[in-house]
């Protein structure tokens, strides 16, 4: 039955409609694979009862002629999404035991479309991390290995569980969220497709907030076409999120025509970093050649403020996080520290937050507190918001000059070993997001597509950045790159 779990969404949709397979069969096959894959640490809360009930309902709908392409598709859901009655704790100890009384807008839309929830997926605590090593559940593990070396590798982060689960065929696709690269970097590390939509395309309501001006949910899938299909079900205006855009959701799948002739693809010179591994250089050059061969026009461009994106991000994201995470105080939800005789409310806050937050979350909340504090607000926070405006202007100017999409590497390296960065200072870990973080700061859509393997047999990905609200065009170009690259490698099962 394992073949069933390898289906793409598009293949499953066609087979479900043809009556070749039922959602119950697909779902059971995924549940069986999940139970065999605990070593991956991907699924942290399994929901087989909910899954089988939803699958049964989906089968009835499909028999009745259901048209939604997501109907009957078994999915994994990142732990950051609130799911009613099911633990949703952002991989944090401080939300231990939290079972929301409500459902996020994205998951509500997916269940309305007929999709099936297999369970909740591991991640970095509060989505703060690039290796899934800050999770209260323990590490998620990359299904890929370096040849015969048994060392456990990171699936990336923060959506590490989503990446691992999709790459290991435990589910057909998964939800992710992306604040600085948390969909695209893990997707690249495991050889799958990850799409961060335009800011405002997908409702943030019911998704545990990290940095509200940067956070955006998106699909993590086995193909570009699947990303288009799943985005269609996730997107749309939501009155409960005042930043969600009240514009129509186009048919993203229909935008994939295979024709990119005449498209202008920008190659930004600032993304050619000092010390960039030769393999990444070659991957990028090969991808450029593939798009040129498909009829696109390659244009050298400049995005001069690129080098300031990471420092800008590490002011703005912690500042917003310190504000968003103020709500975890041991009063309304989650866990409260046990208190000593005579402890007052301040001790309750301080002990609860010291026990409940892990080291990286504490560090970022405190950095955020510092850059927003009296006397430093202008020097750090306001300056970062000004530089952010300049970073966005770089992209605006490129698009005004006629660029349709920008091609860059997705990550500066292939997946690294779990624990390998343990002694590095925090800034070293932050450099993982060097190619992806600009996209969040500018609110643009970005997609990571697997296009090759490194010398050790690990997947590598390229990123395409699109114009705001033009996910359809971006997906079409990404599909062309995907087709030319022909990436079909799968990790050999050891789990």
């Amino acid at each position: 039955m394992t073949e069933l779990t390898r289906f793409t969404i598009a293949e499953a949709r066609d087979k479900l409609r043809a009556g070749d397979v039922t959602s119950t069969e697909l779902t059971q096959a995924c549940l069986d694979e999940i139970d065999k894959a605990d070593a991956l640490g991907a699924f942290v809360h399994k929901t087989p009862e909910i899954a089988l009930k939803q699958a049964e309902a989906a089968d009835a709908r499909i028999q009745g002629g259901a048209e939604n392409p997501m109907c009957g598709i078994p999915l994994g859901i990142k732990d950051l999404f609130c799911t009613q009655g099911v633990p949703s704790q952002a991989a944090s100890n401080i939300l231990d035991g939290f079972k929301p009384e409500y459902e996020s807008t994205v998951t509500t839309q997916l269940w309305q479309a007929g999709s099936v929830m297999l369970g909740k997926l591991n991640m970095d605590e509060f989505a703060m991390g690039s290796s899934n090593e800050t999770s209260t559940y323990g590490n998620a593990v990359n299904p890929w290995r370096r040849g015969n070396d048994e060392a456990a590798l990171t699936p990336g982060g923060s959506s590490g569980g989503s990446a691992s689960a999709v790459a290991a065929d435990l589910c057909l696709a998964a939800t992710g969220t992306d604040t600085g690269g948390s969909i695209r970097q893990p997707a690249a590390f495991v050889g799958i497709t990850g799409l961060k939509p335009t800011y405002g395309r997908v409702s943030r309501w019911g998704i545990i907030a990290f940095a509200s001006s940067l956070d955006q949910a998106g699909p993590m899938t086995k193909s570009v076409r699947d990303a288009a299909i799943m985005l269609g079900a996730m997107a749309g205006h939501d009155p409960k999120d005042s930043t969600s855009a009240d514009i129509p959701v186009p048919d993203f799948e229909a935008a994939i025509t295979g024709d990119i002739r005449g498209k202008k693809i920008g190659i930004p010179k600032e993304y050619r970093m000092d010390g960039m591994p030769e393999e990444i250089e070659k991957l990028w050059a090969d991808g450029t050649a593939m798009l040129r061969d498909a009829g696109a026009e390659i244009v050298d461009i400049s995005l001069p403020h690129t080098k300031y994106a990471l420092p800008t991000y590490y002011v703005i994201a912690p500042a917003e996080a310190s504000s968003n995470l103020a709500r975890y105080d041991g009063v309304r939800f989650g866990r409260r520290a046990s208190l000593a005789q005579g402890d007052g409310i301040t001790e309750m806050y301080e002990k609860t937050r010291a026990e409940g937050f892990g080291a990286e979350v504490q560090r970022r909340v405190m950095i955020g507190t510092y850059v927003l504090s009296a006397g430093f607000y202008d020097a750090y926070y306001n300056r970062a918001r000004k530089v952010r405006a300049l970073i966005k202007r770089d992209f605006d100017l490129a698009f005004e000059a006629g660029i349709d999409a920008i091609l860059t590497p997705a990550t500066p390296s292939a997946a690294f070993g779990l624990g390998e960065m343990a002694d590095a200072d925090p800034v070293q870990m932050y450099l993982n997001d060097v190619f992806t973080v600009t996209v969040n700061l500018a609110g643009l859509p970005g997609i990571s597509v697997p296009t090759g393997l490194d010398a050790q047999g690990l997947p590598l990905g390229l990123q395409l950045i699109g114009r705001p609200w033009e996910e359809g065009d971006l997906l079409n170009i990404a599909a062309s790159l995907e087709g030319a690259a022909g990436f079909v490698a799968k990790p050999a099962s050891w789990w």
Partner: protein
């Protein structure tokens, strides 16, 4: 700008996170590494640039200032670590 242990203590207090005294020097060191990285922003000429308030040029929607939701006290309290008689319960804050 360099952060000393006193500043680290003050920031921890502002963030309402208990940090033991012996952990403060290491914390201050990490802050300095991150802030050192952030200092690069001082190189950028930002004269005449407005700080970004919204990444997409959209005006937030407005609505009538009326109650649109509510009436589920039990659900609101369901996840509280300590709830009594329809309220969140906390340690005594007034004598």
């Amino acid at each position: 700008m360099s952060i000393d242990t006193d500043t680290a203590r003050r920031v921890a207090k502002l963030a309402r996170i208990k940090v033991e005294d012996d952990a403060l020097p290491a914390l201050a060191g990490e802050f300095n590494a991150i802030l050192g990285f952030i200092e690069q922003l001082n190189e950028v000429d930002v004269d005449g640039i407005e700080p970004m308030t919204s990444v997409t040029p959209q005006r937030l929607k407005r609505r009538e200032d009326v109650v649109t939701d509510g009436g589920y006290q039990e659900k609101v309290l369901a996840n509280a670590p300590d709830a009594r008689e329809g309220f969140f319960a906390v340690p005594k804050v007034v004598e």
